[in-house]
């Protein structure tokens, strides 16, 4: 009898029991589709690497962004107004910092969306921001997950350095000394050191940081206008400008290096001993060497004749810097409040940053995986060499440039004035500082 009554009571209870809806409603998961993401997603689809989460394809929406809209920074407007769209963004490292500083991105590690433990420390740090921890102190919180490590490094002619018994330079003084030794003995070399003429700011930042300079402090405050920082900027710029004409191309020759591929071509033709460029250019140089067009035109035949090293720093400063160019997957803070979206975002991030994807990109595009487990599986010798000689070194710091386009544009303009000989480094930095004061006031 008691059993019967219990059964009846249970049956009566059944209608009152209800489960929480865990599955995200259709169309709630959106991802920005631009040139880079399209390549990655297409490659994933092509390799049959599809996400394992249930209902992903039903909920997935790709948001196409026309290229002409990008200068207007459309997602700033969307996220500033707390739009839950898009759920996931693929952002350049500085923009991860900029969006995270505005509190638009969801923390990834503390929310369980992504475990940062497997990432290479240098790149994980570049995509992390200091956050107030519950204990009262500050701790780094991962805000974006990169697929690959991309940063600018120093390329050099390993064959020539070996021939002359020289080691890769660690400081600018060493670089100048090596150049002064080899340049007179290698007539084919036109320059000891070449750098980007357009977007020189990207090459200048790691040099500036190598002189101890900073644009912002750890809390994000703009400190470039402090006198000691301006002095360091001037010293860094002076070091570069000081090489022009003897080691580096003079202002009049910079125009030749302004075209998009001209720097690589000059290096491949054997015109330069050292070159600052993105690490992925090693893969491009390998492809160029294999291209029939370059048969007989290249100064060397094998990719292993190209050496790679960190960008030198000022004497007495052991830390070497690289301006990070990696993109990272970030999650919209306003989207993860919807039911089920957080889990979908976690699945998506696992999918696009899986070891399979990173290894695939490493083998086919020469990208250095951001996760240590993927790195262990990579066979590409270029990737392994760049990682082992540069990014694995504890003295190398991957650091994003400031996100402010206005700041970068002001600096770029005045740096150009200096390298093109229109102003002295001191004048250029002073003029930049004057203009940047209005930036500091308004920003």
């Amino acid at each position: 009898m008691i059993r019967r009554l219990f059964l009846i009571a249970c049956l009566c209870c059944l209608p009152a029991c209800g489960g929480e809806l865990e599955v995200a409603p259709p169309g709630t998961f959106s991802v920005v589709i631009d040139g880079q993401t399209r390549v990655i997603l297409a490659q994933l689809q092509g390799e049959g690497l599809t996400p394992s989460s249930t209902g992903f394809h039903r909920n997935f929406i790709g948001i196409y962004v026309p290229e002409v809209f990008l200068p207007y920074e459309p997602f700033v407007l969307g996220l500033a107004t707390e739009s839950p769209i898009p759920t996931v963004l693929f952002l350049d490292a500085p923009w991860v910092r900029r969006y995270a500083a505005s509190n638009w991105l969801s923390p990834l590690a503390s929310t369980g969306i992504y475990d940062a433990a497997g990432l290479v420390p240098a790149v994980a740090q570049a995509f992390s921001l200091p956050r107030a921890s519950p204990g009262g102190g500050m701790s780094l919180e991962l805000m974006g997950v990169p697929n690959a490590i991309k940063g600018n490094i120093l390329f050099y002619r390993q064959d020539l350095l070996e021939a002359h018994g020289k080691e890769p330079p660690r400081t600018w003084e060493e670089l100048i000394a090596v150049c002064q030794h080899i340049l007179p003995r290698e007539k084919s070399l036109k320059y000891g050191f070449i750098f980007h003429t357009t977007n020189f700011i990207n090459d200048f930042y790691p040099i500036f940081w190598g002189f101890g300079g900073k644009t912002h402090d750890e809390r994000g405050n703009f400190i470039l206008l402090q006198p000691d920082m301006l002095a360091k900027a001037e010293a860094a710029l002076t070091a570069v400008v000081g090489m022009q004409g003897t080691i580096a191309p003079p202002p009049a020759a910079l125009g030749r290096l302004a075209a998009p591929v001209s720097l690589r071509e000059a290096f491949l033709r054997g015109e330069a001993l050292f070159m600052i460029n993105w690490n992925t250019r090693l893969h491009d140089l390998r492809l160029m060497l294999a291209d029939p067009q370059w048969q007989g035109r290249a100064a060397f035949r094998r990719p292993d004749q190209i050496g790679v090293a960190p960008i030198p720093s000022q004497s007495g400063r052991p830390r070497k810097y690289s301006n990070i160019g990696s993109f990272g997957w970030a999650v919209n803070r306003f989207a993860v409040t919807l039911p089920g979206v957080k889990a979908q975002a976690a699945h998506f991030l696992q999918w696009v940053t899986s070891d399979d994807v990173q290894v695939l990109r490493a083998e086919t595009a020469g990208e250095i995986p951001a996760s240590e487990s993927a790195l262990a599986k990579v066979q590409n010798p270029d990737v392994r060499r760049v990682y082992a000689q540069i990014f694995a070194a504890p003295t190398v710091v991957l650091q994003p440039r400031p996100h402010s386009r206005r700041l970068n544009e002001i600096l770029e303009r005045h740096l150009q004035n200096a390298i093109f000989g229109r102003q002295t480094p001191a004048q250029a930095i002073q003029a930049a500082a004057t203009e940047l004061k209005t930036y500091a006031d308004s920003d």
Binding site: R4, A9, A80, T81
Partner: protein
Amino acid sequence: MTTVLWRREAFVFLGTMICSLCLFTLFLQAAFFTLWDRVSLSVQQEIDKEADTIARLLVFEFSHLSALETGIQADPQLDQLVNRLLWEKVTFNETIRGIELISRHTDAQGQHLSYSFFPLTYGDPEAERAPQKSWRRLTGPEGELIRLLLREQRVDRNLLEVVNQGRKLESEMLLRYFPLYIPLPERGAVFWGVVKVGISVDAMRRFLLLLEEERAGLRSTLLGAMAVVTMLALALGLWGFHWQGRQTAALLQGYTNLAQALESGEGLDTTTLQTYLNAQETQDIRELQELKQLCLKFGAALEGLLTPLITAQRQACHGRILGALLPKIAASEVSPAALASWAQLFSPRPDAWGEVQLDPYLGPMGQLLRVLLPAGISFQEERQPTPAILGSADNLIMALLFLVDFAAAQATPPGEAAWRAAPRPGGGLEVTLTFPGRVFDQSECQHWLRPFQAGTPAPDHLGPGLAAAVARQHGGSLTITPQPHGGLTLAFLLPGPAPAADRG
């Protein structure tokens, strides 16, 4: 219907249904509370989402006013354009209660440039309800919210909640604050200031009011429906009990008769009982099927036990009588003629029914009783000719011998014993046996007559019980009446033949 309701199962069923109704009411109440909370929360979230969407759309539209960032501040044309946009959007959209654009730029007094249009501001004269450009000072929680927004370009949700929950100068509405970026192709998205939008919450209020009204009605309807369903279930269940009772009535009546027969000690015809039970349907009710099987097995076992029991009792009776006679025979106190007449009493007879004349046996039985009674008891015999009756001679003589044996065992001197046999006025005969002894009570007498009653051990003398059974077998009866001064009177009554009409 009373018999249907007055059952434990029916009470359990009724109790269960009532408990279910009570539980349903409780769950319904809880569900309504939860439902109300969830609906209110859901409506609130939808309104918030709608407010966000409206405010976002307005921010997007104002973000195209690049002149706000690139133009000069005191441009009348720009002011007119902004004011016109504010007026159009607030005037022709019922949901938008007001808009304010607050620049990050301040004057010397720290006041912020503001374009504002909140037409329902209390206390404003009608004529002044137009978009205005002014310099405003940020005060109170709203000022704190806007200052934080201007500094960090993010909305503090806690402050926003404080602002929305507090009293608002612009009348009751939901306020939204978003940073306003102006995208410029050469500079990207440039932060200009704050957009404040007032959203009407009348629709939400109306909906919640309607929901509150519907809630009471829905609860009554559901409770009424549940009550009706319960009553229907009750009626159906009770009808089911009633139907089942009718279907099993005949079978249960057989069990009732069986129980009564066992209780009254009237005896059982097990063959007839088994035939009867075999003929009854159990309606596929498992309990009834098992009970039927049990009764059938019990009947078979009883049948097997009764015959040896009666034989044993008969032999015991004969043994006791002969045991008492033997000393008297040895002492030559019994004549050979008497012995010869008693011998026929103990002779085996066929167990067949027919016309029986008991007179030849009643005389010897009386003499036997006289001999068996203890010394000190006077004996009196009165016999009249009795009619023949239909019955089993063997059983009847055995029954009377049981009574003689019983009387010899129970009688104690002094006193007078009597053996009477007489015809009954309506036919049949009556044999009465009286003997002295201790004082007996009525319950003791009943116990002899009904030896197998539940809760009491069987008496040491089963003779009266078996004699009573034989009397009932022949349509008669045996009564045992205690005498006021001690002793008992046993009256063995046998009916005469049934009337011709009854014989059919």
